[in-house]
């Protein structure tokens, strides 16, 4: 009985050895170069920033990661510091796991944490612990306002919800029945956006909200939820989506007739551009998600390296994407490092802003 058990343990041990073998050499210390302005000013030569977004399966956060890494490459040499961005985002949304990742970042010597909160209540304690141990913590996209983070970078969620509904009402001529796609119902930023949608809808007597529908924030689950709701409520003429999840697939392009229904959604990633072209989503309200990462790293550099004062809130402005500026927006996405921007949109002529 014990021999096979021993084999089992050794097999698991072998597995772990493979893990170790895959890891390569341990990280080497920063090279001792010439004295940089940062070093001369007595600032650490290396900054480790833990980037903890909500979910690594959500493309918007991958764009944020691209932005953060680009900022690290650009701002590091410029300021004489080596900037390392450690991607500690959980595979699925889970505030508890985020809190664990914050603790891990602290224990492994991170200097700063950049976080989009899945559940503000769950991460507030961990943020405060991290700040207590000397780390600079900032939030982006989704805030933890009760915590000791030093700043938040993101859109005003209430206004984003209002803008989404206002655009949809315009597209629908001020009347009709609409549904609201909410995403993760626990995310405080999305709850605020839904509140904004409701408040704006109340200003349009012809608009009726038939329901607010939460969804799992994966493209397929979200698209399936939209189809289910459309089947259950055939009277729906418009969707206010406070996140663009279902438009990250092409499913709804085939399922919904643009003449019968209009969608206005937050986010405008490359995969969503055909929805604008076909007129199913005549307006997308883009969060420049790349800047979540880029601006956050830049803000950390401002605080830790340049000792600048950072305001408690860094507002992010939405970009209105429609057929008129589709080419401009596509080229912007390409410039931010997105590799999946369809060529035909890149070729579209520049249009007046």
């Amino acid at each position: 009985m014990t021999e096979p058990r021993r084999t089992l343990r050794w097999a698991l041990a072998a597995l772990t050895a493979v893990l170790a073998a895959c890891s390569g050499a341990p990280p080497s210390p920063a090279p001792a170069g010439e004295a940089s302005p940062a070093a001369a000013a007595g600032v650490k030569k290396k900054i480790k920033i833990a980037l903890i977004a909500k979910s690594s399966t959500n493309p918007v956060f991958l764009a944020a990661r691209t932005g953060a890494e680009a900022a690290a490459r650009e701002l590091g040499p410029k300021n004489g510091v080596e900037i390392e961005v450690a991607w500690l985002t959980p595979p699925q949304e889970d505030g508890q796991v985020q809190a664990q990742r914050i603790a891990q970042a602290v224990n492994e010597g991170a200097d700063a944490i950049v976080l989009s909160c899945s559940d503000a209540g769950k991460v507030t304690g961990a943020i405060n612990d991290a700040v207590g141990r000397g780390l600079a913590v900032m939030t982006f996209d989704s805030d933890a306002p009760q915590s000791k983070r030093f700043t938040f970078y993101g859109v005003d969620d209430l206004k984003t919800g209002q803008a989404t509904m206002a655009e949809l009402a315009t597209q629908m001529g001020g009347k009709g029945k609409v549904a609201v796609l909410q995403g993760n119902q626990n995310a405080p930023n999305l709850q605020k956006r839904v509140q904004g949608v409701r408040e704006e809808a109340a200003k349009h007597p012809g608009i009726e909200i038939v329901g607010v529908f939460p969804n799992i924030e994966t493209p397929q689950d979200a698209a399936a939820e939209v189809i289910r709701v459309n089947n259950a409520y055939p009277e729906i003429q418009g969707w206010a989506m406070v996140g663009g999840w279902p438009l990250f697939t092409r499913t709804l392009l085939d399922e919904i007739d643009p003449k019968r229904m209009k969608i206005v959604a937050v986010d405008a990633l490359p995969v969503e551009l055909p929805y604008v072209e076909k007129g199913l989503a005549p307006v997308l309200l883009a969060q420049p998600v790349y800047l979540w990462g880029y601006t956050s790293v830049s803000t950390i550099v401002d605080k830790l390296v340049l000792n600048k004062t950072v305001p408690e809130r860094l507002p992010m402005e939405l970009v209105r994407v429609s057929k008129e500026n589709l080419g401009d927006w596509a080229r912007q996405l390409k410039a931010w490092g997105f590799t999946d921007v369809p060529e035909k949109y890149l070729q579209m002529g520049a249009s007046p802003k």
């Binding site: 480790k48 503000a120 304690g125 961990a126």
Partner: protein, 348 residues
């Protein structure tokens, strides 16, 4: 008669401990180091008190549930509802404490604990009652209650993340005389739950009845065991540990929401299985389930500490579970063959 050392070395727990120690050694060697902000000393990224306690804390919530789930698995059943019981117990406690606003810290902690345990008891009794009285496999029953209980948590919490009173967090994050950045309470609760589970399973008649029932239900029936009561009991214990984990989890992280512990049931079952519990029943150990949970968390930790692409996390954990189960079944077959081949007695 085997010596104590021999018995320790040949025990299933020793093998699992060896793997954990080996993985810990690898992590220590390859983790790199950083300068501690408070002391100015260079510390290993893995082998430091904060990381070790944090790893145990991360494991503790589903390790406690894994102890309870081991009872069910030994009995030949399965409980998919533990994550939902966790969520329901957490939000019920948070809502009740918000409404009651107890005047003293002790009352807050005691009422919180009582609520979580009560929710666990009720959910476990519900699961057990249905498993015993309905001709449906526990998988189906608990699959149903998994969604029902999660839905209840959603409805009563209105998808809010509800903050729990500060005394609860102070209790769960008490440093107990250690450095103020160390929070050993969840780890100690995990160890206590595993020890109590081990004593119950291995040192009490009721515990041996669970093994007997899981190993051979027919023989147990003929032996006069009260099978319904045993089944009911294991589901109550499973949900009870989920309630306890919820109490600790909500207290430690400071809030409860209906989305808590979503998908944890799979980690819980995986912990029990990696710890040697057999899904066909009759075999398992509370201590090994705890070590299984620790090993899974350590594998997760290693992926980040070793700077591997964390997208491999699920692949690695999946491989570890399959290897564990396949080899475990192989060991069962070998043991059975030896038993048949042995002229007198077995090889145990």
């Amino acid at each position: 008669m085997k010596s104590l050392v021999q018995r320790v070395l040949t025990s299933p727990v020793a093998g699992l401990l060896m793997v954990i120690l080996l993985l810990g050694t690898i992590l220590t060697l390859f983790a790199g180091s950083h300068v501690d902000r408070r002391t100015g000393l260079e510390v290993n990224n893995f082998l430091n008190s904060n990381t070790l306690v944090q790893t145990a804390t991360d494991a503790s919530f589903f390790a406690i549930m894994a102890v309870g789930a081991t009872f069910v698995i030994i009995s030949g059943g399965i409980d998919l509802s533990v994550g939902s019981v966790y969520a329901l117990a957490g939000v019920t406690m948070a809502l009740a404490l918000r409404a009651l606003a107890p005047s003293s810290d002790a009352a807050t902690v005691l009422i919180g604990l009582a609520i979580c345990v009560s929710v666990g008891l009720v959910c476990g009794a519900l699961n057990g009652l249905m498993v015993v009285s309905l001709p449906v496999h526990p998988f189906v029953i608990t699959l149903g209650t998994m969604w029902i209980l999660r839905g209840l948590a959603f409805v009563i919490s209105r998808a809010e993340s509800i903050l729990v009173p500060a005394p609860l967090t102070a209790m769960a994050k008490a440093s107990l005389g250690l450095t103020e950045t160390l929070y050993p309470v969840p780890m100690l609760m995990m160890i206590a739950a595993a020890i109590v589970g081990m004593i119950y399973l291995e040192r009490t008649v009721m515990g041996r009845h669970i093994f007997a029932f899981g190993g051979n239900p027919e023989a147990s029936r003929f032996a006069g065991l009260r099978l319904g009561r045993i089944q009911m009991g294991v589901f109550v214990v499973s949900s009870l540990t989920a309630g306890l984990a919820a109490f600790l989890g909500a207290s430690f992280y400071g809030s409860a929401s209906c989305g808590d512990a979503a998908g944890y049931e799979l980690y819980v079952i995986a912990s029990a299985v990696v710890g040697g519990a057999s899904l066909t029943g009759g075999k398992g150990s509370a201590i090994s389930a705890m070590l299984g949970a620790l090993l899974i968390v350590l594998i997760r930790q290693s992926i980040r500490t070793l700077r591997l692409d964390q997208n491999y996390e699920w692949i690695v954990i999946g491989c570890a579970i399959i290897i564990a189960v396949v080899l475990d079944q192989g060991s069962a077959r070998v043991a059975a063959r030896r038993l048949v081949a042995a002229p007198t007695g077995g090889t145990r």
